[in-house]
């Protein structure tokens, strides 16, 4: 049983199946993208039990029973998460393939501490790879979202 975005998914998978493949192919949640399958690019980042993880490096069975959040669960209905809003406003995406990973990476960090300073945000964003943007607009988006999240907190 996987608890994803508040919904239970009863899936039967091989022990070797990654969480990323399971989310995408067994739960139908294709918003989590697979970029390198060896833990470098971070496109598959999801939040498991409050922590950002590379879903390509975690087996689905390891995530059993833990709360999992994917990009599909980030918005609240029609209301986008501040990070989603900020990525649009600051042109933090172009092709959009790496975007779900960056969003979940930043969501996990900012929900824990919305007061991260610029150096910490740079360290955070350098966890993942983007090939389109040159990162500066992603940094701007995360900083802008942090301000909104501080006010909301």
């Amino acid at each position: 049983m996987l608890h994803v975005n508040g919904v239970d998914h009863l899936v039967c998978v091989e022990a070797r199946r990654s969480l990323a493949d399971t989310l995408r192919q067994d739960c139908g949640l294709t918003g989590t993208h697979v970029g390198c399958e060896h833990g470098v690019c971070g496109s598959c980042t999801v939040i498991v039990d409050g922590v950002a993880v590379r879903a390509c490096l975690m087996f689905a069975v390891q995530a059993q029973g833990l709360p999992i959040r994917t990009v599909e669960g980030l918005a609240c209905g029609d209301i986008l998460h501040p990070l989603q809003e900020a990525f649009i406003a600051h042109h933090g995406l172009q092709c959009g393939f790496c975007t779900p990973g960056f969003l979940m990476l930043a969501a996990a960090a900012l929900e824990q501490d919305a007061w991260l300073d610029d150096a910490a945000i740079l360290d955070l964003v350098s966890s993942n790879l983007c090939r389109c943007t040159g990162y500066q607009t992603i940094l701007a988006a995360v900083k802008a979202a942090a301000i909104v999240m501080r006010e909301e907190a």
């Binding site: 192919q25 949640l29 060896h38 980030l74 990525f87 649009i88 959009g96 393939f97 975007t99």
Partner: protein
Amino acid sequence: MTTWVGRSIRRFEDPALVRGQGRFTADLPAARWVRFVRSPVASGLVERITPPAGSVCITHADLVGVRPIKPMLDRFDYVPIEQPLLAKACVRYVGDLVAAVLGTTAADAEDIADQVLLDITALQPVMDTPSALAEDAPVVHAGMSDNIVVRAQMCTPGHAQAWAAADRIIDCDIRSHRQSGQPIEARAAHAAWDSSGRVTLTCTAQMPHLMRTAIADLLDMPEADLRVVAPDVGGGFGQKMSLAPEYALVVWLARKFRTSIAWVEDRRENLMASFHSRDLAISVQGAFDAQARLVALSGDVLANVGAYAPYPNTAAVEPLMSFAELPGPYAVAEYACLARGVVTNTCASAPYRGVSRPALTLAMERLMDKAARSFGLLPEEIRRRNLVQQFPHTSPTGLIYDTASYRETMELALRVADLTRFRQRQVTARVEKRYLGVGIATFCERTGYGSPAFAARGMGVTPGWETVQLAMDPSGFVEARIGASPHGQGLRTTLAQIIADAVGIVPERVRIIHGDTDRTPYGWGTFASRSLVISGGACLIAAQQLHTRLCRVASIMLEAAEADIELRDGIARVAGTDRTIAIADIARASYHGAHRFAESPGLQETASYDPLGTFSNATHIAFVDVDVETCAVRIERFIVAEDAGRLINPMIVDGQIRGGVAQGIANALYEEIVYDEHGDILTTTLADFLMPTAHEIPPLEIHHLETLSDASIIGAKGLGEGGTIGAPAAVLNAINDALQPFGAELDAMPATPLRIHDALRAART
């Protein structure tokens, strides 16, 4: 009146993408999955392929009647080479396709592929251009007399005389080591057969219509029976432009097994067997007069093009582009060049953002810095004396440079940079054993070129024009079906801005339809910084036609002269009056009351555009800090002054520049595809092929000039590639500036710590 062109409106692409609701090829479920068995050796004869019992394993022998990929170039000096979809008798690089196996899941197929036994007799590979050109080198393609696939040579009549009369000759030999575009989404293809016999191929493509033609030709099937869909595509950078043999195989498999078949490439395959690029050695010699003016230029271009030729551009694309565009932004009259493309036992080389221009710009910009030093001039001063300032300018290779601002753009960048102050700081820092450097790169970028440019190359397939089918539906919304195929560039937004202004509606009422051969007119897709200029030009023409037609209908409905009708913000108005009608009402009437007007029913307009091409230009200035102990390079500051004509959406323009510069910095400092001497590839993970992170890419200071050229009817020039073109030369010039106290020079990229270390050591001995 609201105008939309020139505004940084939010992208229409983004809401779905940030919600994880993008639709990418790998998201599709399939009945069966394919895994390709690839050659583990660089050169060899395939003796036997033994699949595990009970498996489905397709080899060359099964592909009866399937043609090889053989892109053609109509030139006497080009040797066409063939690539069978699966190895026929020999393998030519590590990663070459040998067999295809099917499984019920990707993992299942991978397990089966691992059990396929390959009996291959290994042969001596040729890995680089020196060994491929050696007298006794084995030929990569049997039947060729040597390994040269293209050899272009020219010399202007006055070259020898200018050379002899020159004050001095400056030499520069640069090396661009092998690169890879590396979109974060690797390639993927999904072919679904339906009971009518048609196949829908959904794939990561930049040129969906040409993929349809190419695959139908290879498989000898009616093109009408193949639909190609490029859904959301996770970056391309050229890698998804050329025909992948894997895509044709997936279509073949779907037809053979009458089912849906998926292939999702993994990163190792992408690094090993998707297209590589920019494996170039360029030697330039500049003949300068006593005033440091470049009077004659000689070039020798040697391109390692890999084992096969990409369709449609052929294996000649990198050497011939270097040959044609080497003089760059400089007004040199006399030019001689030899350019050769050499096949080796490496992955095929194909266009990657900028193609060969990052390397040729490196050659020219290093040449200018070396010449400046020789003449005792500042780098900016020698450029002032040599940049083209009269437009239109015809280059020695016959390229026509349209109106631009080479000099003004450089001066803008210099004003921002304040080099006087920097050079003072540089001197002070040296006392503290810190080595700072500044590097300038100026370049022009040929963009938005139509079929005449491709015809001049002699390409068997001559791309260039674009068509748009524009229709306003009865609700007053406009649908524009385009042949371009964006994959991150934001064309759904920028084209909507152009159409909105030309029709007189808001962009939110414009839908851009792309990436589906069933729904869009034949076109050439998105590459070569062309889509906004050419597809945007076609959109403008069609939208103006629609505007005219709406005015005619409105004049009847408002009982006024057609010339008095104004369309703005969704309203048709008789100028100077309060008599109005909503454009949506005109649209409704055009369909449901068509009998009232002397017009063909409905509101459809089609237009095509096929321009000669337009050159954008830019200056990049990089400031670096080189640690001479660790040989690490830190970029302190990076300035871009760019003139790409009219900015349609400044936010998107700056995004293209930022992303391009990031790839340029990656080329300059970090990324390299490495083979060992046996032909094995050593860089098959992202821990070996070092893509930069946010730590390595500095903030950019971007400044614009907007020189309008009549070479582009929308006024915008292409700029998608410029960032990658200028950044390597700026960074390398800056590193060389920093290393000046040691007398060390480095003309190879990437400038890795090891290469910097070697350059410093060479200077000491």
